[in-house]
Symmetry: C2
Subunit: 134 residues, 2 copies
Amino acid sequence: MYINQATDYGFRAVLYLAQKDSPELADAQTISRHEVIPIRFLLKIMPSLIKAGIVKSQRGVHGGYGLARPPHDISLLDVLEAIEGPIALNRCLDDETLCSKQASVHCKIHQSLQEIQEQLAGELSRRNFADLMD
Amino acid sequence: MYINQATDYGFRAVLYLAQKDSPELADAQTISRHEVIPIRFLLKIMPSLIKAGIVKSQRGVHGGYGLARPPHDISLLDVLEAIEGPIALNRCLDDETLCSKQASVHCKIHQSLQEIQEQLAGELSRRNFADLMD
DNA sequence: GTAAAACTATACCCGATGAGTATATTTTAG
DNA sequence: CTAAAATATACTCATCGGGTATAGTTTTAC
């Protein structure tokens, strides 16, 4: 029941971009070195963060990455969902047809997990990257 | 970020044992049919529940499975941990040496995830199988 | 005391996913 | 034009999740 390693790297990359003082873009090499993330892997996950409107990028000679909005507007949930999609504690909460009992609506377990999932999502969205910077 | 399918089956099996009215043991066939769980798979996960002291079993002709303690003493967390081990939102919360930055102690992300994980565990342990029976 | 009904222990298979790598392409500054 | 950067696509490889198979062992009815 882990969150992905990619998501963990994503958290670190975003935090790095939030914390660096200069407003210039940071290139992948720099982020990779500071956060100890395999560069090819970093390069692969950045587009997801861009599509989600969390990070902006610039190609070319003095290109690199920067935050697309202020740190206090980026939650842990934003980054997690950008990289690994919507959270779902079990597969029938994601897609009811996957329940082998086909009983998700009146299934007490399902209902409990749903509530727990909502609490989890709430916690993840309450925490933003400005909080993490202190 | 799913919980295991095995855990989901475990929830159902325990709930079934809690809900059946007769105090006799239920054999694997019966549980499997009622809860739509592949029998071989069910047979594989039951020993974990037994080791955790949640379920008791009896071999032989009129053998089967029953709860080892009352439903209100069995939480979702009990079953989850019995089957898939302690929860950990990411690998460095499970084992610090797995953090590629080797920085878990003073890592704000780590700290946040730890708090969220504790909340999640709390929610899972607050809910017991007597609640689910209604 | 033996046969059948149960659970138990191992061990295997296979597809999906996670983690990471490689190659080729596009963009931009200078 | 060229070098430095990001992007796109596709690949590898190990692990894990889900499930199956085989061969037991224990218990009880008769």
